[in-house]
């Protein structure tokens, strides 16, 4: 339950900060939530990872469907040399997740005494 709350809260705070701050505000969100809600480092990592994986993945998916894949195909060709929308969505989700996970891990270590 705590894990689930952390994931949801991280996603919500990331989204809110992202509306006003640069992209790296997701790191602040994941870090902050991990400090606020103590979890074991491993769990904290996965909650940050999953929160941003779903947030960035689902946002990208939603935008992509509304856009009828016009831009995702072009950008995919540009940076991963394949016209695959799904791959670029996965890459987006993974980059967000990596930042989220590592930031949450740092937060967990800051909070945890032993």
């Amino acid at each position: 339950m705590k894990f689930f709350v952390t994931v949801v809260l991280t996603a919500i705070v990331s989204f809110a900060l992202g509306m006003y701050m640069p992209w790296w505000s997701i790191a602040i969100a994941a870090f902050g939530v991990a400090v606020l809600i103590p979890q074991r480092p491993g769990k904290a990592f996965w909650s940050g990872f999953l929160a941003l994986f779903f947030l960035w993945g689902l946002l990208a998916l939603y935008i992509d469907v509304k856009n009828e894949h016009i831009l995702s195909q072009k950008v995919a060709e540009l940076i991963i040399k394949s016209r695959s929308s799904s791959l670029i969505i996965l890459l987006t989700a993974f980059i967000g997740a990596l930042v989220g996970g590592l930031s949450a891990l740092s937060g967990a270590y800051l909070r945890k005494s032993r």
Binding site: W23, D64, T92, V99, S106, Y109, L110
Partner: protein
């Protein structure tokens, strides 16, 4: 806290953020670029995007409405003229901001600032500065600012662009800014002037002074004349042969020492300039009401330019209480450029005249602080160009200016990628350096009610010289080959000229009224396709230059053959997209006459048969054009390659018509012989050998299924950055060089327009792009496929009363902000 794991984890996290936030090589900062709330995803416009908007902006004088139709064409209705330019600026920025800025950065030699350290790009930037692009724009701006009407237009346009930029959030900037990692800056009237100079360079930057100088030292005067004849035999000029011209031409003095210091001087210049595309050209014509079915004139215009995404053009209607104009506009400048209003229509083709010459300057020493002029040492002026380079210190380039001529483009400090010898000093005299007010032409045409208004408006056109076609609902048609052109003595400026005194300077400009023109001619049409404007024997001024020949011939032939009272807009569409190859009509009989079939094997005969059977049309599926083109190219190489190969210096290849006409005139044409062999080759030897040489390449092409003309040519529309992912490739379209449908690889009809000047105007047009410059919008390349197959969009001059028409999809309401 667990200090060690925290430290390790924090360091890894911060390093990751750092890497993801930084531009690595060509790749954009990947964290920001992929962020769905900041990066490229924000540019992925919903397919059902809503363009309705209500804007309160200071800078507007009154309320205004913009009705946007189903093709994303804005119809702007304002209550005064100033507001129409303000909103035009706003909309250009909304739909095309990146390209407007990029093109003006390119004009100003500021690409290093965006792309960072790269010797080629720095060289480009330096060349732009040294050509005096910024200097020219500043001088034109002074004139524009001194004219209160133009200033008001420019100020309103700039304010409109900036009203958009000011409210633009970083996450909403166009995709290209995110890819290249920079941000837009504010617009200014100077940027508008720079954009117009960008067009001037594209259209009035063509000459072969250095190449001809080299050829002069390599060939005798007689040989030179054969390689680069002044006019082709088959020329059908813009103003027909037989027309009489004034005999009160400006008298010109040929320098007394011209024979020794100029014509006979053997000198070589190892410079390859960056040049505009030699294919920059266009077609335009107008047919009088006597020829048309409706009884009213029809005007057609299709400018041939580099085909890019986002397109150079943006379609708009500008409607004010004083005038109402529709057509294509330049994102980067106010007014409608090619289009029509409620009375008149207008279009342009390039005049192709040589208005850029080089002078060799004698400096006292290598500091270049004093130069010799009319027997005295005079003090050089300097202009310091600061080129910013992303991530590096500025590059400072001091450019010497000779007031009598212009900037010293090439010197010891700048050889153009080691292309110049670095010993001589060449100053550039370019007509585009002279101040002019181009905005006045377009605004004047947008408002023109009759021939006199048109004739008055185009007088403002100095550079780039254009053949301006005109048609009016009152029945008038006209065409002026307009520009401010230097009056030159024969061969003046074909070669690098001595710059030690005033004797080689331009002595006068051709008086405007002596520019070639036609007004309601007897043949009931006017036309131009970049050919020589006149019969050179009859016109009192030397024209020089290099002019395409064949499109003019076929357009005039077709128009002349159309019966009176028959011509419709559909006929004009067919003509504008016609793929008939008149060059091949002249040349194929020569090739077939001189090829020796007895020495051909079966494979060779098979390909020859295709050429024989070819219907002379460059349609997408024809196989004849590829074989014919390869054959003729091969023939040119076999004919001229040996002579031109004698020099390592840059030389200009003769025009395509030169060899064809030479063989038609004299099969013993001296250049046919291969001077590297002891044997004397005849036309039969060379034509046959040229054909045999292309067979391996033909077999290869056929094996790859590329013999069909569209596959062979492989037309594409490039994104301005040449990124393949953002371009449109492999377009199945015919046409090509010498053909009315002048579609080449990435160059061709950038806007096709047909306007029937009936009481209720009927107009059609299309360009190979789309109204949105955003690669993430479905409107980005919306017109490309229709353009390929020769379809047109109906151009709708909307009336204010039609705001509920079903074609209107969105409304942008502009109101003036009360804070000001």
């Amino acid at each position: 806290m667990r200090p060690l794991p925290f430290l390790v984890s924090a360091i890894i996290t911060v390093s990751l953020l750092f890497v993801l936030n930084k531009k690595l090589g060509q790749a954009p900062p990947i964290g920001n670029f992929l962020s769905p709330q900041h990066g490229f995803w924000q540019n992925a416009e919903p397919a059902d995007a809503d363009y309705n908007d209500e804007l309160k902006l200071s800078g507007l004088k009154d309320d205004a409405s913009v009705y946007i139709d189903d093709r994303l064409v804005p119809h702007v209705f304002t209550k005064n003229e100033s507001d129409v330019y303000f909103i035009q600026g706003y909309l250009h920025a909304k739909f095309r901001l990146w390209q407007m800025e990029f093109q003006t950065h390119a004009a100003a030699g500021r690409i290093s600032e965006i792309l960072g350290e790269n010797p080629k790009i720095l060289n480009f930037d330096r060349e732009q500065r040294r050509l005096g692009m910024v200097y020219a724009a500043e001088r034109s701006l002074q004139v524009a600012e001194a004219d209160s009407a133009t200033r008001e237009i420019n100020d309103a346009y700039t304010a409109g662009v900036n009203a958009y930029i000011t409210q633009l959030k970083e996450r909403d900037v166009p995709l290209e800014y995110k890819l290249l990692d920079y941000l837009p800056e504010k617009w200014s009237n100077l940027k508008t002037a720079l954009f117009l100079k960008y067009m001037s360079k594209d259209l009035a930057g063509g000459e072969y002074d250095f190449e001809y100088t080299n050829a002069k030292s390599l060939f005798s005067a007689e040989e030179f004349e054969k390689l680069y004849p002044l006019a082709a035999d088959s020329l059908d000029p813009i103003v027909p042969k037989g027309t009489l011209f004034t005999d009160n031409a400006v008298a010109l003095t040929i320098p007394v020492n011209a024979d020794s210091l100029y014509f006979a001087k053997k000198d070589s210049v190892n410079i390859i300039e960056s040049k505009p595309d030699p294919d920059n050209g266009s077609n335009n014509w107008a047919v009088s009401g006597k020829k048309t079915k409706s009884g009213y004139p029809i005007l057609c215009s299709d400018p041939h330019l580099s085909l890019n995404l986002p397109s150079l053009w943006f379609e708009m209607q500008l409607s004010t209480p004083s005038y109402n104009a529709y057509g294509v506009t330049f994102p980067g400048a106010p007014a409608v450029i090619i289009g029509f209003n409620d009375s008149c229509s207008f279009g342009f083709t390039n005049a192709e005249r040589d208005v850029r010459d080089y002078y060799e300057i004698t400096f006292r020493d290598s500091t270049m602080s004093e130069y010799l002029f009319n027997g005295k040492w005079k003090t050089t002026q300097w202009r310091v160009e600061t080129i910013r380079v992303k991530g590096r210190p500025d590059f400072i380039d001091s450019v010497a200016y000779i007031p009598e001529f212009g900037p010293v483009m090439y010197d010891r400090k700048f050889t153009g990628n080691n292309r110049a010898n670095g010993k001589n000093y060449y100053a550039c005299r370019w007509k585009a350096h002279d101040p002019s007010n181009e905005i006045k032409i377009f605004v004047g045409l947008d408002k023109a009610k009759n021939y006199n208004d048109y004739a008055e408006a185009i007088k403002n056109l100095h550079t780039p010289g254009q053949n301006c076609v005109f048609a009016c609902k009152n029945g008038d048609i006209a065409l002026w080959a307009q520009g401010e052109f230097p009056a030159k003595w024969k061969d003046q400026g074909e070669f690098v000229m001595p710059g030690m005194d005033s004797s080689y300077m331009w002595q006068a400009m051709i008086p405007q009224e002596q520019n070639p023109h036609q007004y309601n001619p007897e043949r009931n049409f006017v036309s131009s396709a970049n050919q020589l404007p006149v019969d050179v024997k009859a016109y009192p001024y030397y024209l020089g230059g290099s002019y395409p020949l064949y499109r003019g011939i076929i357009i005039n032939r077709r128009l002349a053959a159309m019966d009176s009272g028959s011509v419709t807009a559909e006929d004009m569409m067919k003509l504008q997209t016609d793929n008939y190859n008149v060059f091949a009509e002249y040349t194929r009989p020569l090739l077939l006459k001189y090829i020796d079939e007895s020495v051909l094997n079966d494979v060779e005969k098979k390909y020859l048969e295709i050429v024989k059977q070819w219907n002379l049309r460059n349609d997408p599926n024809e196989k004849g054009p590829a074989i014919f083109n390869l054959w003729y190219d091969s023939l040119q190489v076999k004919t001229f390659g040996d002579e031109l190969g004698k020099s390592t210096y840059p030389l200009h290849w003769p025009e395509a018509s030169t060899l064809s006409e030479a063989i038609a005139r004299d099969p013993g044409f001296s250049f046919l012989d291969d001077i590297r062999t002891s044997h004397k080759e005849t036309v039969v030897d060379i034509v046959t050998y040229a054909f045999k040489t292309i067979i391996p390449s033909l077999q290869n092409t056929e094996a790859n299924n590329k013999l069909a003309w569209a596959n062979f040519k492989d037309t594409r529309v490039n994104h301005l950055t040449k990124q393949v992912a953002l371009s449109r490739l492999h377009l199945p379209i015919g046409g090509g060089n010498h053909i009315i449908n002048a579609t080449k690889v990435d160059h061709g009809p950038s806007w096709r327009m047909i306007v029937e000047m009936t009481p209720q105007t009927n107009a059609y047009g299309i360009y190979p792009g789309g109204q949105s410059g955003n690669p993430g919008s479905k409107y980005y390349d919306m017109f490309v496929d229709d353009w390929v197959v020769g379809k047109y969009n109906k151009l709708w001059m909307m009336k204010a009363s039609e705001k509920n028409d079903k074609r209107i999809k969105w409304v942008m309401k502009f109101s003036k902000s009360s804070n000001h």
